[in-house]
C-alpha cells in the first residue's frame, strides 16, 4: 500500500511542481511585460534534456547526481500531501531536513567533481547562504515542536486541522520568518547568488548536459516540492484532501514567484547578514513567546 502511495506522491510531486514552474515562468514574463513560454515548457525542457547526448567527468560526477536524485526522491516520500501520507508518524521534520541535505551533498560533490571552478564557487556560496537561512528556520521549528511536543509532519497537520488554528495565525512572526527562509531555500531572488547565471555561469549546474541536466531539473522540482510542502504542512495546516494541500501550495509558490521577479540579487554575505539580523531576532522573539505562553 505504501508503495502505491509513494508512487502516487512522486508522480503528483513531479507533474504538479514542473507545471507550476512553467506557470512561474509565465508569471515572471507577464510582470516583465513579456509574453513568456507556454506553461508546459518545462516538461519539454526536461524531456529534451533526458534524451540528448551528454558528457561525464568521471565516477564521482555520475555518483553525485545519483545521490542527489535518490536522496531527494527519498525525502519527497516523507512529505504528506493532504490525505496522501506515505509514512504516517514517521515523517519527522528533522529527518526531512537532514535527508534533503544528503541530496544537496550529492549535488555539491558531483558538481565540484567536474573540476570547474565556477561550480566550486557556486557550492561555496550555497553552503554559506544555507547557514544563513537554516538558522532562523530551525529556531522557529524549536518553538513549533515545543508547542506540540511533536515533530511529525502528519501529526502536526492533524493537530492544526482538528483545532482549526493554523500555526500561521498562532505564530505569525514565525510564519513570516519561515517564509523568508523558504525564499532562500528555493534559491529565489534576492537569494539566488549561488546560481547567478551571469556571474558564475549558473554555478553548480555549469558542467551538466543531457540526462544529467534532466535529472537535476527533476531533482530541483522535487526539492521545491519538499521545501514548500514543509512550509504548507508546518504553518498552513496541510490539507484534509490533496486538493486543499495543492491550493495552499500554489498560493505559497505564487507569492514566492512574484516576490522573486521584482527583486535584485544580494551578495552572499549580505544575504547571510540579512538572515542573521531581522529573521533571526524575530524567530527568537516568536520562540520565546511560544515557550513562555506555553507555561513550560
Amino acid at each position: 500500500m505504501s508503495i502505491l502511495k509513494g508512487a502516487a506522491l512522486l508522480i503528483l510531486a513531479f507533474f504538479y511542481t514542473v507545471t507550476l514552474e512553467g506557470i512561474a515562468r509565465k508569471i515572471t514574463a507577464r510582470i516583465q511585460r513579456r509574453y513568456g513560454p507556454p506553461f508546459w515548457q518545462n516538461f519539454i525542457d526536461i524531456f529534451k534534456a533526458l534524451t540528448k547526448h551528454s558528457i561525464s567527468h568521471g565516477f564521482i560526477f555520475d555518483f553525485g547526481v545519483l545521490m542527489a536524485f535518490g536522496g531527494t526522491i527519498a525525502t519527497v516520500l516523507f512529505i504528506p500531501a493532504g490525505n496522501l501520507v506515505v509514512f504516517p508518524g514517521l515523517d519527522n521534520v528533522f529527518v526531512v531536513i537532514y535527508l534533503l541535505a544528503i541530496g544537496l551533498l550529492g549535488m555539491a560533490m558531483s558538481s565540484v567533481g567536474s573540476g570547474n571552478p565556477n561550480a566550486g564557487i557556486g557550492i561555496g556560496r550555497a553552503l554559506t547562504q544555507m547557514l544563513g537561512y537554516e538558522l532562523p528556520f530551525m529556531i522557529v521549528l524549536v518553538g513549533v515542536f515545543f508547542q506540540y511536543k511533536n515533530s511529525s509532519l502528519s501529526d502536526l497537520v492533524n493537530i492544526q486541522i482538528e483545532s482549526g488554528q493554523y500555526n500561521a495565525w498562532l505564530m505569525p512572526l514565525g510564519a513570516v520568518v519561515a517564509f523568508i527562509s523558504l525564499l532562500g531555500m528555493l534559491g529565489k531572488k534576492p537569494f539566488d547568488v549561488f546560481i547567478a547565471p551571469a556571474e558564475i555561469a549558473s554555478g553548480p549546474l555549469v558542467e551538466y548536459s543531457g540526462k544529467y541536466l534532466g535529472m537535476l531539473l527533476i531533482q530541483h522540482s522535487f526539492a521545491v516540492f519538499i521545501e514548500i510542502g514543509l512550509f504548507v504542512n508546518l504553518f498552513l495546516g496541510g490539507g484534509r484532501t490533496i486538493w486543499e494541500f495543492l491550493v495552499k501550495f500554489f498560493a505559497v509558490f505564487f507569492l514566492a514567484v512574484i516576490i522573486s521577479s521584482i527583486m535584485p540579487r544580494f551578495r552572499v554575505e549580505q544575504a547571510v547578514k540579512f538572515y542573521w539580523k531581522w529573521p533571526l531576532i524575530l524567530s527568537f522573539v516568536q520562540t520565546i513567546i511560544v515557550i513562555v505562553s506555553a507555561g513550560r
Binding site: 534524451t51 555520475d62 545519483l66 536524485f69 535518490g70 526522491i73 527519498a74 509514512f87 556560496r125 524549536v142
Partner: protein, 610 residues
C-alpha cells in the same frame, strides 16, 4: 586475567617494545598492534562482568582501584577500539622510532587505566601518564611544534592542578576518593564545597576535552604533531568525557545543585556549563570554516564537537545524556577515520594543505570513501551514525525549551556542512595536480582499519538502536531513565526515528535514480580540464583548482572578530616585555648598574629596617 595484572602488563610492555624496536621496528609495531587488539578484545568481552580490584597501596587506605561497570566498559571500549585500529594503521606509517612506540604504548596503558578507574586518584595518575607521553610525542620530530607543546603543557597544567587540588580537597574533607562514595558525601556537603569541587573538575574537563575557553592547544598540537597524534587524540580526549559524565551523572550535579535557581529545569551551574559548550560549538565551527589546512580544520571541528558533548551531558535529561554519550562514540569514530584518511594522503603526497592537493579521488578511492562516510556522520546526515546523536540532543533542547542553546547546536550542525565540504573539494575533488599523477592508494594495512571504522559508522547509522542499547544499560546503572527502543526505531519526545526505514527509502530512491540514469544515452567521458571556461584557454591544472579561501565571503564577516589566540599571544608579548624591563634593572650590562642597584637595595633596606 585479573584487571590490574592486565594494566600492569600493558605498562611493562612499553619499555619491552622500546628495546625490541631498537632491533626491529616492524616487529615492535606489529607486536604493539597485537597487544592493543587483544586488550580491546579483553575489555570488549567483559561486557557483562561487574567486578572491582585494587592494588598497590600508596598510603594509608589509598589504593589504585580498577573495575568494570557499564560506564567504564563503554568508555574503555570506545577508546580501545580507536587505539587498536590506530595501532594497526601505524604499522605502515613512515618515521617509526623506538621512542614513539614506547610513548604510544604508555598512552594506551594510561588510557585504559584512566577509563577503568574507580576513583579520582587512579583516574588522574593514569590520565597524566597519557598526557605526558602525548606531550613528548607531539614535539618528537618537528621543531616548530615546540611552541605548540608549550601551549598544551600550560593548558593541561591548568586542568591537572585544578583536578589535583579538588582531589586533595575531597580526600581531606571526605576521606575517600571513590566516585560513588564521593557522590553520596557530596550530597550533604556545604554548598561552597559543592561549587568549588564541581568548578575544579569542570576546568579539567574543558582543558582536556579541548572545549571553550581552554581549546587553544587543539589547533597547534594537532597540526604540528606527527600524523599519528591527532588520530589517537580523537580517542584520548574522550577520557575527559568520561570525567564529565562522572561529575554530571554519577555525582548527579542536578541534584547537588538543587538549592540553586534553575533555568528551564536545568540547574544554573549545568546551564552555564552547557553555554560554555554552546560557545565552543560556535567558535569551533567558525574557525574550522576559515582554516586552510586539513588538520587545523578538523582540530577546530573537534572543538565544536567537544562543545556538543559538553552541552548535551551538561543539560542532562534522558535524551541529552544519551545523545551526548552517543556523540562520544560517533565523534571518536568519525574523527579517527578522517585523520586516518588524511594521514594516508600525507603518507602518499607529503602535505595536508588543501590548495596543494586536489583530484585525489581517482588515485585514492578508498581513502575518499572513508572520508566521505566520516564527514556524513560528522555533519549528522542520515543514514550515518552521527544523525542519531544530534537528533537526540535536539530532542532535549526542544524538551527544555532552550532556543539560544538550540541556536548554538544548529549553528554547529549546519556550519559543519561548510567545513567538512572544504577538504572534500580541496583534497579529493577538483583538478589533479600534475605532480600527483602517479600517486597510489595507501597500503592495505592502512586501508583495513579505515574500512573497519567506516563499516562501524554505517552499521550504527543503520541500527543506532544497537549502540543505544549499550547506553541504556549505562543509564540504568546510574539510575537515569532509559530510552524506548525497538529493533529499528528510537522513540523520543517529538516522535520516532526509524533508521531502517529511512535507509531503505534512500536506497529505493537511489535505485530509481539509477534506472533513470541507465535509460539515458551513455555519456561521453571527458577529461577534468575539458570544462566550460567561457571561451578562454586554460592549461594549468594547479591554477584551475578552486579551494584556497573557498569561503572568502564568510571570512570577511568574521575577520574583525576578537580572537582569543591573538589576545593571548599579545599578552605573552607584554609579559616578555615586562620581563625584559626587569632584566635591565637587575642584570645591567655595566658594573655601575650593579653598584646603583645594590646602593638602592641598601637604601631601601636601611629605610625599612630603621
Amino acid at each position: 586475567m585479573d584487571l590490574s595484572l592486565m594494566i600492569l602488563l600493558s605498562l611493562v610492555a612499553a619499555p619491552v617494545l622500546y628495546f625490541l624496536a631498537r632491533f626491529s621496528k616492524k616487529t615492535a609495531y606489529v607486536l604493539f598492534a597485537l597487544i592493543q587488539i587483544s586488550l580491546f578484545a579483553y575489555i570488549f568481552f567483559q561486557k557483562e562482568s561487574a567486578y572491582t580490584t585494587s592494588v598497590f597501596e600508596i598510603m594509608e587506605g589509598l589504593k589504585f582501584n580498577f573495575g568494570f561497570t557499564p560506564i567504564n566498559w563503554y568508555f574503555a571500549s570506545i577508546i580501545m577500539l580507536i587505539i587498536s585500529m590506530t595501532s594497526v594503521f601505524l604499522i605502515s606509517m613512515n618515521n617509526k622510532t623506538p621512542v614513539k612506540v614506547l610513548l604510544l604504548s604508555l598512552m594506551a596503558s594510561g588510557a585504559i587505566g584512566a577509563t577503568l578507574s574507580m576513583d579520582f586518584l587512579t583516574l588522574i595518575v593514569f590520565w597524566e601518564i597519557t598526557t605526558w607521553s602525548s606531550l613528548v610525542f607531539i614535539a618528537i620530530d618537528r621543531e616548530k611544534s615546540f611552541e605548540e607543546v608549550l601551549k598544551y603543557v600550560s593548558i593541561s597544567a591548568i586542568g591537572t592542578y585544578a583536578m589535583i587540588f579538588a582531589l586533595f580537597y575531597i580526600l581531606k574533607s571526605f576521606g575517600t576518593v571513590n566516585y560513588l562514595e564521593v557522590a553520596s558525601k557530596l550530597e550533604i556537603a556545604p554548598n561552597n564545597t559543592k561549587i568549588l569541587i564541581f568548578a575544579l573538575f569542570g576546568v579539567m574537563v574543558l582543558a582536556k576535552l579541548g572545549s571553550f575557553p581552554l581549546h587553544i592547544w587543539v589547533r597547534g598540537s594537532y597540526s604540528t604533531s606527527p600524523d599519528e597524534f591527532p588520530i589517537l587524540s580523537s580517542a584520548l580526549s574522550k577520557i575527559a568525557a568520561y570525567l564529565l559524565f562522572i561529575i554530571v551523572a554519577v555525582i548527579p550535579s542536578s541534584s547537588i545543585f538543587s538549592w540553586l535557581p534553575s533555568i528551564a529545569g536545568v540547574s544554573i551551574v549545568n546551564y552555564l556549563l552547557a553555554w560554555l559548550g554552546g560557545i565552543a560549538i560556535i567558535v569551533g565551527t567558525v574557525m574550522a570554516i576559515r582554516m586552510e589546512e586539513v588538520k587545523e580544520l578538523i582540530a577546530f571541528s573537534s572543538v565544536s564537537n567537544a562543545g556538543y558533548i559538553v552541552l548535551a551531558l551538561a543539560l542532562g535529561g534522558t535524551y541529552g545524556t544519551i545523545g551526548g554519550l552517543m556523540h562520544v562514540l560517533n565523534h571518536a569514530l568519525a574523527s579517527a577515520a578522517i585523520f586516518m584518511s588524511m594521514a594516508a594522503v600525507a603518507y602518499r603526497t607529503g602535505t595536508t594543505k588543501m590548495h596543494e592537493l586536489g583530484g585525489l579521488i581517482t588515485r585514492m578511492p578508498v581513502s575518499f570513501a572513508t572520508y566521505l562516510v566520516a564527514i556524513i556522520s560528522l555533519a549528522g546526515i542520515p543514514p550515518m551514525s552521527g544523525f542519531a546523536s544530534k537528533w537526540l540532543i535536539y530532542q532535549q533542547l526542544v524538551k527544555d525549551g532552550l532556543p539560544f542553546l538550540a541556536f548554538a547546536a544548529f549553528f554547529g550542525s549546519i556550519g559543519s556542512f561548510m567545513y567538512v565540504f572544504k577538504p572534500l573539494t580541496g583534497v579529493f575533488l577538483g583538478q589533479l595536480k600534475p605532480e600527483h599523477k602517479n600517486v597510489k592508494e595507501a597500503p592495505f594495512i592502512m586501508l583495513l582499519p579505515m574500512g573497519i571504522l567506516t563499516l562501524l559508522t554505517i552499521f550504527w547509522g543503520v541500527l543506532p538502536s544497537n549502540a543505544i542499547a549499550y547506553i541504556n544499560r549505562l543509564i540504568s546503572y546510574t539510575g537515569g531513565k532509559e530510552i524506548q527502543l525497538t529493533f529499528s526505531k528510537i522513540f523520543a519526545l517529538t516522535g520516532q526515528w526509524d533508521s531502517v526505514l529511512v535507509t531503505t527509502v534512500f536506497f529505493v530512491g537511489f535505485i530509481i535514480a539509477f534506472i533513470v540514469f541507465i535509460l539515458g544515452k551513455k555519456a561521453k567521458q571527458v577529461d577534468l580540464m575539458d570544462t566550460y571556461t567561457g571561451g578562454e584557454y586554460i592549461y594549468t591544472a594547479e591554477l584551475y583548482h578552486f579551494v584556497y579561501r573557498m569561503y572568502r565571503s564568510f571570512d570577511r564577516m568574521f575577520q574583525e572578530w576578537p580572537s582569543m589566540e591573538n589576545w593571548l599571544t599579545s599578552l605573552s608579548y607584554k609579559i616578555k616585555e615586562l620581563g625584559a624591563l626587569l632584566r635591565t634593572l637587575f642584570y645591567p650590562k655595566y658594573p655601575q648598574g650593579y653598584i646603583a642597584v645594590s646602593l638602592l637595595t641598601l637604601l631601601i633596606a636601611f629605610w625599612w629596617l630603621r
